[in-house]
């Protein structure tokens, strides 16, 4: 059994740690590239959302490298993501691939089946071993998320250009080459320490922008054309409202348990949207309101073309923009999106934010 999985951001690193701890062979799909997207687009339904197309490309490339088992997470709607596994199964079958697809979910609340699937992947029935490996993998994931957050915050202030990037890329390289969670945790601890030592010029005029939207588009840097780096280079500090770590804990502990942070987001979203409508629409609205309270300069909403929950959220954005006095830009991504046009829109938005801030500063000086 050679297991593979789709890419989402850097999550392949903790997944690699998990399976190495368990002693299961994995095939990490080649980094998402134009070829991946082309393979996916060619074989997927025309109007399905972009994440499925990239995922499908990942599988096809992994199968070429020898993978025979695919794991994906499930869900029960109402967003399309819950039915990804079935669509992908049908497509791969029609393409003539003979692969096993294991969906990580409890079908209609059947916990026994869930445990059976997990132990099949983990190649062991030892619950202690599984949960220990899982715990370590989550530690890797959380530390990695923290590092990513630091990078997005520090990059616009760096005194020597590209210093942060060099360090970050160097560590990602090291993580890819290391085996098992213990080694990775060591590397990550070092990375955080070294990040703190990078010289930053905190006196710079830097804008702050929050990123909200559909989780895959927010997290995966191939999907969003590395929006974080692009904005950083324009002198903007970036905060992403969603991370894989939070998503996983949410999946494991279930949304309904209502962790304090989530409740805060929902409360903020409440005047606009009261129920969960699938995907992250409620979080998009809630986080936008929270960013405005924290006095961010602007918010960017990212979503794949035809994403249903985000379209609902999008229709509320003009009202939020007006009532909360925060500029919002919605960027829609699909396989036809050109990078140059995308960059122009980002630049125009940042110019607008900068003018707005200058005006506000001069007004306060005058009065």
């Amino acid at each position: 059994m050679k297991i593979t999985f789709p890419h989402i951001g850097n999550s392949y690193i903790p997944i690699k740690a998990l399976f190495e701890d368990l002693g299961v062979e994995t095939v990490i799909p080649p980094k998402s590239s134009k070829k991946t997207l082309e393979l996916g687009t060619k074989n997927a339904p025309e109007l399905i959302c972009l994440p499925l197309k990239i995922n499908l490309g990942n599988y096809i490339e992994s199968i070429a490298k020898g993978a025979d088992t695919i794991i994906i997470t499930g869900g029960c709607g109402p967003c399309r993501f819950g039915y990804y596994c079935e669509v992908q199964k049908e497509i791969l079958k029609d393409m003539g691939y003979d692969v096993d697809i294991i969906v990580l979910e409890a079908p209609e609340g059947n916990k026994k089946e869930f445990i059976r699937r997990v132990s099949k992947i983990a190649n062991t029935k030892n619950i202690v071993k599984i949960s220990k490996s899982l715990k370590n993998a989550i530690t890797v994931l959380k530390k990695l998320n923290a590092l990513e957050e630091m990078v997005l915050k520090a990059r616009p202030y760096e005194v020597h250009e590209n210093e942060v990037d060099k360090l970050y890329n160097n560590f990602i390289d090291k993580l890819e080459k290391s085996r098992g969670s213990r080694e990775m945790i060591n590397h990550l601890n070092n990375a955080v320490e070294m990040m703190k030592e990078i010289k930053l010029d905190k006196n710079r005029e830097v804008l702050r922008v929050g990123i909200v939207g559909e989780i895959y588009a927010v997290i995966d840097d191939y999907c969003n054309f590395d929006i974080g780096k692009k904005l950083n280079k324009m002198g903007v500090e970036v905060h992403k409202s969603l991370s894989t770590g939070e998503w996983i804990t949410e999946m494991l502990l279930f949304r309904s348990m209502g962790m304090s942070k989530e409740m805060k987001i929902w409360e903020a979203a409440n005047p606009y949207i009261k129920t969960c409508i699938g995907g992250h629409a409620r979080e998009t609205v809630g986080n936008t309101v929270l960013y405005s309270k924290e006095e961010y300069d602007g918010v960017i909403q990212l979503m794949p073309f035809t994403c249903m929950p985000e379209i609902v959220a999008m229709s509320m954005m003009p009202s939020i923009q007006e009532e909360k006095n925060i500029p919002i830009l919605t960027l829609i991504i699909d396989e036809m999106t050109g990078e140059a046009g995308y960059l122009t829109r980002l630049e125009a938005f940042i110019d607008l934010l900068r003018n707005r801030k200058d005006k506000r500063i001069s007004q306060t000086v005058d009065s």
């Binding site: 967003c79 079908p107 609902v312």
Partner: protein, 336 residues
């Protein structure tokens, strides 16, 4: 003066209109249904909705605008789920919000949450909440709901006999009721609000009938058989539309009476991208029935659609004449 309740004749209107209209009328309200979809309504809708929304949602906005200055209350329930463990569509869950934030100065909205995902236990409370907008008399609401349900089951019986919801809207259905006897059958798939709205579908049903074909839809299939077939899917379909459509497809594959399948989808529909694809793959894999997918949005030209329908009908007739029911063309594509 009685309260005027407006019901937009779009989206789930075609599934539930006898229930909704009778219920409000029995409560003593003056029910005003928006005009049939026309170009003006579509244009108004497009102007007032986010660009990314699908055509039916845009049309719904148009219908709400049509009612805006004519009524005291508008009925836009948040229909989250109508059967167990199933949803309608994310956009339906957020529909009242979409309307509220897209159209200004609206009359009061009846935006009761209709959610039977976990159980139907809260049915009574839901009915009371909706009725409460009109009257505080609990008995009257109960009574009105019973009468409305009777009317609704009468409507459902008509549908089972082979009438389509658009036929029941006409007054003299029985005199024209011979359009479903003993002719070649074509299965028309898609969301009811796309199929049954003559403006959105460009009168697809009548066009097919003019070609001497009987049109059957998901609604004409036996619900039990449909559910049985849908249960054979590896993962439970969590959209009610999806369960119906895929269940119908799986039964239709084995049904020799059906000589062609058309899927009418609206551009950008998230559900159709999944359901349509699975349906198409199953049909192509397990049967040799002709299948075509028609995608519509506000820019679709009628001539193009007509051409595709004519080609499809020609293909069915051509097969009928040559009787061997083989399509060398399609076989060739799939034998790589």
């Amino acid at each position: 003066m009685p309260i005027k309740v407006g019901i937009p004749s779009a989206l789930l209107f075609y599934d539930y209109y006898p229930l909704w209209i009778t219920f409000f009328e029995e409560l003593g309200a003056d029910v005003i249904v928006s005009k049939n979809t026309n170009k003006e309504i579509v244009d108004m809708g497009i102007k007032n909705t986010v660009d990314e929304a699908c055509l039916p949602v845009k049309v719904f906005h148009g219908h709400v605008l049509d009612l805006k200055n004519k009524v005291d209350l508008i009925f836009i329930p948040r229909i989250t789920s109508v059967s167990k463990y199933e949803y309608i569509c994310p956009k339906f869950c957020g529909l009242p919000e979409m309307i509220k934030y897209s159209i200004k100065d609206l009359p009061e909205i009846i935006d009761t949450n209709i959610d039977f995902r976990k159980s139907k236990k809260n049915l009574n409370r839901t009915v009371m909440e909706i009725g409460g907008y009109i009257t505080k008399d609990v008995k009257k609401i109960k009574n009105a709901f019973e009468i409305a349900m009777k009317e609704y089951s009468r409507y459902k019986d008509l549908i089972k006999k082979g009438f389509l919801p658009i036929d029941t809207l006409k007054k003299d259905i029985y005199s024209k009721g011979d359009f479903f006897r003993g002719k070649a059958k074509v299965l028309l798939l898609g969301h009811p609000y796309n199929i049954y709205d003559p403006h959105i579908s460009m009168d697809l049903v009548q066009k097919l009938r003019k070609h001497n074909l009987t049109v059957v839809t998901c609604e004409s299939f036996c619900e039990e058989a449909m559910n049985e077939k849908a249960a054979t899917l590896d993962k439970k379909m969590f959209w009610s539309f999806g369960r119906k459509i895929l269940g119908t497809v799986l039964s239709a594959i084995k049904n020799d009476e059906i000589c062609g399948i058309i899927y009418l989808s609206s551009f950008g529909c998230g559900l159709d991208s999944v359901i349509g694809d699975i349906a198409e793959r199953r049909i192509r894999r397990d049967s040799n029935k002709p299948f075509t997918l028609l995608t519509i949005d506000e820019h679709t030209g009628e001539a193009g659609v007509d051409t595709r329908i004519e080609a499809f009908v020609d293909m069915i007739k051509w097969r009928d004449e040559h009787e061997n029911n083989l399509s060398p063309h399609r076989k060739f594509i799939h034998s790589n």
